[in-house]
């Protein structure tokens, strides 16, 4: 019942987000300085070949000098039919390009998220069980340090260390499983630094509660207490926080993709903006915006399942 309500309100939110993002990107792309036909021609043919003839050919082919309002309405009605149009640079359907590139980004983000969950929360739990212990102190310093390193630098440090010096992993590239490790680890370390702290605080708080002491008093070992009463409680703030981390992840993916030569959506968005590829920018921004809505909905539902107090 409650879950249904959440879904409906999120659906309404998704439609609003789509209209807002569509209109906003449309207005922004229209108000950028410079002649769009020239920019698209530069994107298509490269700086050695962009000239008046190429710009005129683009102008004639795309008819981009038309009035704004009909173009916006046309785009919104195409959108209602899930038609994103064709890229002005490559000529390929925007939908195909986004599916290809979003797939690459999503799989990288997923690997990063899983890696961060393997690294961060277990350390956080161990530290939280012994607050102000050795591990807790080391973790505080390490996670603050890692979080303070920009992802750009982290990526280069990992490449130099693991790919160039030790030669364990490929420096960059895409297509095989081994290519996931370095970019995934770059993103994961930043995420793990924070979710280890979140887990540690939640664990310390819970281990200090009367029910925890009661569980141990009735004869459960620390391990049993953790498995039966601890994990579920710790996971509620952790999962809520994962929703926020989605923002960090999208931001990180754009930087990490450019360093590792990863054909993802961040890479695509940056190139599309440079070459004034309006349908591609609109489509990409829309998909990212809807991504936020979907992730938040999923987290709402997951928290409801885990924590009966919220659902009630």
């Amino acid at each position: 019942m409650g879950g249904m309500k959440v879904l409906v309100s999120r659906l309404v939110q998704a439609v609003m987000v789509a209209i807002l993002i569509g209109t906003a990107t449309f207005i922004m792309m229209r108000s950028l300085p410079g002649d769009a036909a020239w920019r698209i021609a530069a994107g298509r043919y490269g700086y050695d070949n962009v000239d008046a003839a190429a710009a005129d050919a683009v102008r004639g082919e795309l008819g981009i000098d038309g009035p704004a309002l009909p173009a916006l309405l046309q785009w919104l009605s195409d959108l209602a039919r899930f038609d994103f149009g064709n890229s002005l640079v490559s000529g390929q359907p925007v939908m195909d390009e986004i599916v290809h590139q979003l797939g690459a980004s999503a799989s990288l983000a997923l690997v990063a998220l899983l890696l961060s969950l393997v690294i961060g929360p277990p350390l956080g739990i161990l530290a939280g069980l012994r607050p102000r212990g050795m591990l807790d102190r080391v973790l505080l310093v390490a996670s603050t340090g890692v979080k303070a390193v920009p992802q750009f630098l982290m990526a280069l440090v990992l490449i130099v260390l693991l790919a160039v010096h030790l030669r364990w992993l490929p420096a960059a590239g895409h297509g095989e499983l081994r290519h996931f490790i370095l970019p995934g680890l770059t993103l994961a370390l930043g995420l793990a630094a924070v979710n280890a702290r979140i887990t540690r605080d939640a664990m310390a708080r819970i281990a200090d509660m009367p029910f925890w002491r009661f569980a141990q008093w009735k004869g459960l070992s620390e391990r049993q207490t953790l498995l039966r009463h601890g994990l579920r409680n710790v996971s509620v703030p952790l999962i809520t926080y994962l929703g926020l981390q989605f923002v960090t992840l999208v931001e990180g993916v754009i930087i990490v993709e450019s360093i590792f030569g990863w054909p993802g959506i961040g890479h695509a968005l940056v190139h599309a903006i440079f070459s004034r590829d309006v349908p591609m920018v609109q489509g990409t921004a829309l998909v990212l915006g809807l991504g936020f809505v979907i992730v938040n909905s999923a987290i709402d539902l997951a928290v409801r399942r885990l924590d009966p107090r919220v659902a009630g």
């Binding site: 410079g34 962009v50 490559s90 364990w168 420096a171 895409h174 030569g261």
Partner: protein, 501 residues
Amino acid sequence: MTRTFLKAAVALACFAMPVLAQADDRLDVVAQFEIKAPEPATSGYIFTRMGVAETLVNANADGELTPGLATSWEVSQDGMTWVFALREGVVFHDGSAMTADAVVNALEIARAKPGPLQDLPITGIAAGDGEITVTLSEPMAALPAFLAEYRSQILSPASYAADGTGVAIIGTGPYRITAMEPPLSLDATAFAEYWGNAPHIADVSYSGVSRVETRALMAESGEAEFVFGLDPASVSRLGMLDDVEVLSVAIPRTLLIKVNAGHPFLAEPDARRALSLAIDRAGIAQAVLRYPEGADQLFPPSTADWHNDALAPLSYEVEEAKKLLAGLGWEAGSDGILTRDGARFAVTLTTYPDRPELPLVAAVLEQQFRTIGIDLTVNTTNSSEIPAGHQDGSLELGLIARNFSLVPDPIGTILSDYVGNGDWGAMNWRNEEFATLLRGLARGDGGNAERARASEILQAELPIIPIAWYRQTLAVSDRVTGAEIDPFERSFGLENIRWAE
């Protein structure tokens, strides 16, 4: 228990990871270019470089034209009709034969898209028996060179949609594409029915990596065997490694300032000469580009016919520059910037970041021009602002890298840059003697004497100000031998590379 688990995980990682990085038997090529689409007009240079697509005419390292898919060509007495004899027994990657009709189809589609063929005085391309005939409305001696350009590549009719848009790359080259994922990757394998010598290495891959630091690290870590386009800092670092060789070749591309000769401050040739004298070319070349020397004329030695050893070299003489400007009525104002009739000598230099050295050189020029009292503002923007600013007259100075070998014979580029519309060449500059010389050379009249006179005019008038001649760089792993750089940037030469013994 946790400790045992941790130890096991670390041990596993140490054993597994080196295996992950192990080299395979595929030749991996990395360069900065992104594959936009299966379309010769936008990404054709990747397909020709990778040995997937071929052209009727080829060019060797000296820029001389050699047979490609055409074995020979002849021009009629009046220079208006060209006949190209097609190579026999050539098969496209889809198994269909390369017929004269297929060649005409590919060229007609290329001619309808923006590119060098579009500007040629071609009246018709007709298919004959094992040959094609190109008819012109006026003589064009360099026509074969235009057919060596990447956009003139010959693909099978099945490569194009009904409207001429590229849908697949079905070429005739030594490698055929097995997988292509725009924008960043392409896999290819040796084509069994190739008409020429079979390549030594069967499987090759291409990856587009736009960050130059990443490309250098891929070369350093051994991840890719053939890494194209390195920055000066990486060249020095990679040069110190034992298992990577860095190759460097002068290419027919010049770093230059495009000058609006219609601008009131820049209209007098002496003003342009003063700018030229204020540039420390050796300093820019050595400190920014890490080249041994700067350019002392427009055409680099690699454009053999056009480079003129007899020219007085462009020099660096700040005092002489100041004298020239004083002679034009400029006087230093209170802030050290020159003024004339109440106007400050302040101009904007437009450049673009696609080539990372351009904004750096622009910053150095800002300093060097200030020493002679010129206030330079640098505007780093989209590359299309140069031709767009040329068209609407708003461009003042532009810092650009101009390639004279898109078509292996530079005449095409020189003609369009300095006689024609000039989007990437002279602006508001016309010289009738130069135009007559160039038109004659394009028709096929005249030779070295005319070319020498033309380069003399450019050196004296400076419609553009040359700064440096480019070098192309390549890092090659010691696992392979036989890699070379094609100064005309048409081919990676993958078919000649073999695994080292």
